[in-house]
């Protein structure tokens, strides 16, 4: 007899709660937008924010509410996600060239000169705020890895003081491009294989003094390019990836050897055009020249 009352009591409380919840669920259910749910299923769920919304749910809700928003803004999802969303919404998927982040600086440790031994907060943003950073080149990679910290995919690491993107892991969410206080990281199409390893806006003379891997703005690449794809802007060469045919003529013409061509097939076992060897190459050349 002693056990019946408590068991009954707890069961009754449980049943009352269950009935209450069921009724509440039934009468106060909020109609969920089916489109948003379907769109959400197309997205990878990484919540990286690369699309400019607060997360995958937010992007899906925005898409469902406003059909004018482009369905191709999810970089991790790429063409699959865009096609899926386009199918749900019945719109055109748009341009979904797979992209990859690339660091436009190869001024590794020992390649560029330093102004100081910086000992403050070890973030690039803090170092940048202190006289423009520890390096003499005020445009180069600071190397504290603000980009590494924001990358959710472990695709960036700092090698020899310069950030390097592992293009196998990069999903082109663009978080690093926003985190870099020097704005050195840009999203480029995965098909683009020629890149300039410098973003210095200093004049050629100064760049030559402070860094062995700096663009001096000599425009030899401009003359070598048959497609008008490379231009010297703000004292450094910039490649227009829409026009570039990846022929590599500019790389051959560059006297500073800072235009790099990524091999067509990844070098087995691991494609690693790390800044370290790339940056050391011109140094060796320089030594020979002297």
């Amino acid at each position: 007899m002693g056990i019946v009352t408590p068991v009954l009591m707890v069961t009754v409380v449980g049943i009352i709660s269950a009935i209450g919840l069921t009724l509440a669920e039934k009468f106060m259910a909020v109609p969920v937008d089916e489109t948003a749910v379907k769109i959400r299923e197309c997205l990878p769920g990484a919540n990286c924010g690369g699309c400019g919304f607060a997360g995958c749910d937010d992007y899906a809700a925005a898409l469902a509410a406003d059909p004018t928003i482009a369905p191709n803004m999810c970089a991790p999802g790429g063409a699959t996600a865009a096609a899926g969303i386009a199918a749900v919404l019945g719109v055109d998927a748009g341009d979904t060239t797979p992209k990859v982040a690339r660091v436009h600086c190869t001024g590794a440790d020992g390649v560029h000169k330093k102004d100081m031994e910086y000992q403050g907060y070890s973030t690039c943003a803090a170092a940048k705020g202190f006289f423009g950073g520890p390096g003499q080149c005020k445009n180069g990679c600071i190397g504290f890895g603000d980009c590494v910290a924001v990358c959710k995919y472990g695709a960036i690491q700092v090698v020899n003081g310069v950030a390097w993107v592992d293009k196998e892991l990069c999903v082109a969410c663009g978080a690093c491009t926003k985190a870099c206080p020097q704005a050195l990281i840009k999203l480029v199409p995965q098909t683009s294989r020629v890149w300039v390893g410098c973003s210095s806006t200093d004049h050629g003379k100064i760049t030559r003094q402070v860094c062995d891997a700096g663009c001096i703005g000599c425009k030899l690449c401009e003359k070598a390019c048959k497609f008008e794809a490379i231009k010297v802007v703000d004292n450094h060469a910039v490649i227009d990836t829409d026009k570039c045919k990846n022929c590599g003529l500019c790389a051959k013409a560059c006297p500073r050897h800072i235009i790099h061509v990524i091999p067509r097939k990844p070098v087995a076992p691991k494609a690693a055009p790390a800044p370290a060897p790339a940056a050391e190459a011109p140094k060796a050349e320089e030594a020979k020249a002297e």
Partner: protein, 197 residues
Amino acid sequence: MMELVKIIFAAVLVNNCVLVQFLGICPFLGVSKKMDSAVGMSLAVTFVMALATAATWPIQYFLLDPNGIGYLQTIVFILVIAALVQLVEIILKKYMPSLHKSLGVYLPLITTNCAVLGVCINNITDGYGFVASIMNSVGTGLGFLLAMVIFSGVRQRIEHNNIPESFKGVPITLIAASVLALAFMGFSGVIDGIFGA
């Protein structure tokens, strides 16, 4: 009236639920990284605490005690609180979408938070009346808010410091929490000082 003010002060400072009673450590460590989420979480906890007390106090005195099954307190309270929080979530979703959006993430988290259960049980063990129980719950919630706000501030300072590699992350957070708990030890006896014994 004085009694109620005293209860609130005691709950916020002297018997701070996180730093003195060590209840609700999970959200204290988990959600204190950012100030705004810490405040959101604390407000949700305060709200649920008051609500849970309002539901569990009558259950204890009108259902459990008359039937002589006070020992079922814990299990019945958990059941009722969990159902209650779910109900609140459904209601909020329907009628206050904006509040649901700001509290929504935290509500399921505190369904079975031990601080909520703890304050309900403490109200019974301390023999508070209904109004005093509600006051105690609100005070405990505010104490939780205070601890969360202080600690999220501390953590933001920690983040920008050079910490030895082996202390990075959870270890330094726990050390900071223990120092903060030690600091709150200083409040013991303060109520008698303010309001007279």
